[in-house]
Structure formats: structure tokens, C-alpha cells
Symmetry: C2
Subunit: 351 residues, 2 copies
């Protein structure tokens, strides 16, 4: 560390009572007033070059670092934002978090992480704490892609809802375009010459399941193609359901040539049964997943073509929107982020 290289400042060589150099110390060492020292460090123009360097040297020597609390107190801006997630464990929050943290990090903004663990009381508690800390803004990251209760309209800072939209249309929410994702998946299969496409997906109470199915059906309809297997196979977001549904599906409709799975987890189950049934992937049946959950998709046999929700981009976008809202005023409504196709080996043109 650079602090290490200087003689560690102690009672002997300087007036350090609190253990840290303050602007006053720097000013004294540089032989100027506090005001001048401040200006010099902040690149204000009204200070001579020679004086500035003297101050800079003094600051360096004392390894001065400005007290952000005091700065925040006076500028009425803390330079912090709150990231209020309801479910850190769930794998979807993390990439959003990363994106947001990354975007803020390149500014001067630091991020408070709060995990409410799905508990409403804990959420309120964290909210109070964050407001008390005078965060400049808030990003609320939901656990499921369905609407969640708004934090309210009368908060003193801008709020952005990510992944789970707010149930108040006056709030600004950022979500992934699941309809577009479903459409994209089926489009990919169609382009590869598939005609008998089935769809196995998760819990029908999830908006995401409904939306993806709708996108898929829309795209099929445009092409005048029927949905293979006679229905959307709703069930659970699990490998086990993927296996079960595939078995039933094959029984009802043995000559499908593609399966769109509503998640990579389900896709793994699908692949598993296709293997057992000696149906070659992708030559006989193409499989496409959803989520691009790396550990599952990459290690699948064959590696899984899938739809990536671009969650990190969503997090970054949330950060940008919040940043813009901090001085300006905030928009409202629901904004969607386009997913993207990740092509691997589980899909290929039909001979």
C-alpha cells in the first residue's frame, strides 16, 4: 500500500488525534488554509499551480483521504445507492447485482447490499435503514418475474424495480422480455428447418412461463405451424418434470423434431430422456433451453443452445436509469430488455 511506504503517522511526527489525517492537517502541512486545501484537491481553478502541488504533496504524505460522510453532509448527496433484493440465493439476482455494481463502480457511487430474504418486515427495516443513510437512490431486485408490491410513491429518492416489476404503473420497472425470448427460441428452431416443435415449461403460475409460451405460440402461428404435442406442457421448473413431460410427450407425439424447454433445468431433463430413447440430439430432435445457466447449459450433452436473459445488462441499465433519475426526474412504466440467443450444439439445421 502507498500508506505503508510513508512513516506511519503517529503522535511523534504530526498532530494526529483521531488516527486519520484530516483536511486541516493537510492544510497546515502545506502552509495554507483549509479552504485553499479543499480547492486544490478538488481542482478548483482559483488556486496557483505551485500552491496546488504543495497541497497535493502534503495530502500524499499524510495519505489523506477525504471523509465522504462530511462531504455527503454538505453536498446533500451521499454517493451511495441501495440494492434491495428479496432473494440473494436465487440465481437471478446475482447477475443483476453484478451489472449494477459494475455500472456504479465506474462512477463514484458505492452500493449498499440488502437481502430481505423474501420477508416483508425485513424489507421495511432495510428500507428505513437505507433512507436513514441518505442513499441517493434505490434498486429493488425481485425474486420472480412477476409484479411485486410497490414501495410507495412518496419516497424521497428515486426507485427502480428490476426483474420483478412494481404493481404501481407510476413506478419505473425494468424486466426481461420473456415474450420476445419465447419467440426468439422458436424462431431459431424454425430457421433450422424444424416443423414439429413442442414446448415443455415450468410452473404456470409464473408470468415468465406464460409469456415465453405466448411468444412461442405467436411465432408458430405466424408460420402457420401447429404446436407439437397438442399443448404447452406446464409443470415445474425441475429436471424431473423435464424428464416426465418428455416421456409423456413422446408417447403422444413420437415424431417431433424440436423441443423448446422453458428453462435449462428442464432442458437437462429433456436431454436425459431423449438419450434414453436413443433419439439423437440435434440430428433427430433439436433442444433449446432458457436462462443460459452456465453450469447446466455448458455441461449438458450436447451443450445446450439457450436464451440468455441478459440480466447483467439489465442490472447495468437499472444503474444508468437510476443515475439519470438522481438529478433529473424519473420515468415510469415497464421497460423490457431484449434477451439474446446463445447457440451451442443442441440445435443444428435439419440435415
Amino acid at each position: 500500500m502507498s500508506r505503508g511506504s510513508t512513516e506511519q503517522p503517529s503522535t511523534a511526527d504530526g498532530p494526529r488525534q483521531t488516527g486519520r489525517a484530516t483536511l486541516r492537517d493537510v492544510a497546515k502541512l502545506a502552509g495554507v488554509s483549509i479552504a485553499t486545501a479543499s480547492k486544490a484537491l478538488n481542482n478548483q481553478p482559483q488556486v496557483r499551480a505551485e500552491t496546488r502541488t504543495r497541497v497535493l504533496q502534503a495530502a500524499e504524505q499524510l495519505s489523506f483521504s477525504p471523509n465522504t460522510l462530511a462531504q455527503g453532509l454538505i453536498t446533500q448527496r451521499s454517493g451511495t445507492v441501495g440494492l434491495l433484493t428479496s432473494d440473494l440465493e436465487g440465481r437471478f439476482s446475482i447477475p443483476i447485482l453484478m451489472g449494477a455494481e459494475d455500472a456504479f463502480g465506474s462512477d463514484q457511487t458505492s452500493v449498499f447490499l440488502c437481502d430481505a430474504r423474501g420477508d416483508n418486515l425485513r424489507e421495511r427495516h432495510h428500507l428505513r435503514a437505507l433512507l436513514s443513510r441518505r442513499v441517493d437512490g434505490l434498486i429493488v431486485v425481485g425474486a420472480r418475474p412477476d409484479a411485486r408490491p410497490s414501495l410507495g410513491r412518496d419516497l424521497p429518492v428515486p426507485v427502480i424495480y428490476a426483474y420483478s416489476p412494481s404493481d404501481d404503473p407510476a413506478d419505473l420497472s425494468l424486466v426481461t422480455d420473456n415474450v420476445g425470448g419465447g419467440r426468439m427460441a422458436v424462431d431459431h428452431l424454425i430457421r433450422h428447418g424444424r416443423r414439429r416443435i413442442a414446448h415443455i415449461t415450468g410452473d404456470p403460475s409464473y408470468g415468465a412461463a406464460q409469456d415465453r409460451a405466448r411468444g412461442a405460440l405467436d411465432r408458430l402461428a405466424e408460420e402457420g405451424l401447429p404446436l407439437a404435442g397438442d399443448q404447452v406442457w406446464f409443470g415445474a421448473w425441475s429436471e424431473a418434470w423435464g424428464r416426465g413431460a418428455t416421456r409423456m410427450l413422446l408417447q403422444r407425439d413420437p415424431d417431433i423434431d424440436a423441443i423448446f424447454a422453458g428453462s435449462d433445468e428442464i432442458a437437462r431433463g429433456v436431454l436425459d430422456v431423449l438419450h434414453q430413447e436413443k433419439l439423437a440430439v440435434p440430428t433427430q430432435v433439436a433442444v433449446i433451453g432458457f436462462d443460459n445457466w452456465n453450469i447446466l447449459a455448458v455441461n449438458a450433452r450436447p451443450p445446450l443452445t439457450t436464451i440468455d436473459m441478459n440480466l447483467e445488462a439489465l442490472g447495468r441499465l437499472a444503474a444508468q436509469r437510476l443515475f439519470a433519475a438522481i438529478d433529473g426526474t424519473l420515468g415510469s412504466g415497464v421497460e423490457t430488455v431484449a434477451p439474446r440467443l446463445i447457440t451451442r450444439e443442441s440445435t443444428a439445421p435439419l440435415d
Copy 2:
């Protein structure tokens, strides 16, 4: 929100210039001085009960929330800590984070999240920012269970290293007991009557791989048992390596009755090949993994017995140690957290 229920305070009904009620406003409304208001809100004894309730009511009415920045400025304690991780993406950081966040949350401490993304420069940058924000302490969460460079001895706040120990023995590091984990895994197999136990694990450059292997070998030696397969099969932390190694292993030593896999990912590969070879799990061959990575372990067929590193507990412990260190002084050396066995169906007593 409670703020919502009051007439929203505006220019009309009160002296609100900055948009938020301040202690001065509360005091004025309650008809007392700022000092008294402060004491009343902080449960100081030198204030009459009647006055206290008057202040409390005023605070409630204005939905006052104290400015933590100002408090921190004067108390010389910000009530925040920094969580400096080098790799948010990696799945190991998350549970540690959750544990720490949870432990701090129940106190009054808020957590700054910083992801250095494995970049040294970014780490320094974040460190500077955190110190500038006057965090009361720091937890450094590594990406790999191997030693990492210390942040230095002369930081003005206590630092605790989690998962990756610091290379400076004067620092305090908290790590998982991988030797104990390896021992625990083999012990479990032995207790279930297994005698021909093999070990397939990941990248030998990882301390964790070496430690787990050592623990396993120790336990075997105690029992006078040889290691089946003639060697520890080091390779990569991947399903593919799990598959490859299992094939080679079976060729060399067809009648093993248990495999200890160095990670759940590897274990999945192992299970896969055992399936193909028609070796029944757990009746013929028992399999135990490491990490308790839920998505892999639970969905395996059969569900995987595995070793859980107790990372969330590690995070919580780190928080506690840091908390203790903030007033007192910090210990040093490496402290280990015991892993725990998660029994599922991939292991069972040999008839």
C-alpha cells in the same frame, strides 16, 4: 408506508427546506431544544417522560429519520462495513456474502458490496473508496481457497479474510476445513462398509483439491485401507473430467465400491458413467460429492450425498469476528470452519 399516511410535509405546513425533516424541526415542533430532542430519541435518561413522548410524537409526525452521515461524523463510527469480493460470479462468494449480510443486518450495520472481478487495480480502487467512506471494518472474500496477498498491515480498520486466507500470518483468516471435509467424506463411506474407495478430484493446483485428498488418505490410512484406483485422480473441476476419470478408473480397477468426488460437478460426471456402465448407485458403488451445490446435488440421480462447506456460517462468523474486532483488537492466524455431511441417496450401507 407510514410516511404516506401523514399529510405529506411541504412548504405549507412546516419549515422544510431540504425536503426532509431534521432534528431541528422535531425539536421545534415538540417545543424543546435540539439537545433535548436528541436525548429523547436516543433514550438518554436525563429527560422527563412527558417530554420524551412529546418529542417522539413530533418525530413520528414528521416521519423523522436521523441522518446517519451526521451521526457517523460525530461518533467516528459509520456503522458500515465493506465486503470486498474478488469474484461475485463464482458461486462460493454468494453464500458467504449472505451469511455476513445476515449477521450484520441484525445489528445496525449496513454492508457495502464491492466486486473487484479478480482485478488487482479495481481492488485497490474499491479499497480507497471504502476507506474514504469510513467503513468500520472490511471482509475480503476470495475466489479460490488458496492464499491471497494481504491488503497490508497498516489499514486503519480491522480486516478479515474469508475463504481465501491472507498470505500474511498476522492477518485473521477464516477458511473451510478441507482436510476435515475429505476425512469426513471417506469416514462416511467406511462407516457404510465400503472398502475399495477411489478419489476423483479437480485441478491439483488448488489447495482445496490437495487438502481434501489428504484428509481422505489420512482416514484411509487410519483404517489400513488402500486407495482404490492406485492414485488420486486429479484433473479439472468439470463434469467432463468426472466422466473421463471414471472410465479410466473402472478400466484399471473394475471392482471399486465407492467414489469420493472432489466436487459435485465431478460427481455428476461420475454418476453419468456409472449409469452407462450399468453399475447401480448406491447398491454397487456409493458416490459422495463436495460442495452441496444444490442444483447439481439434488437433481442428480440418485440425489447426491455430499459435503457442505458451511459457507453461510463462515460468512456469519466473519461478521461476528469483525464486529468484535471493531472495538477490541483483532486476532490473527487461520481459523477453520467445520464442514458438514449432507446425506442423500447416493450413499447407503452395503447391504
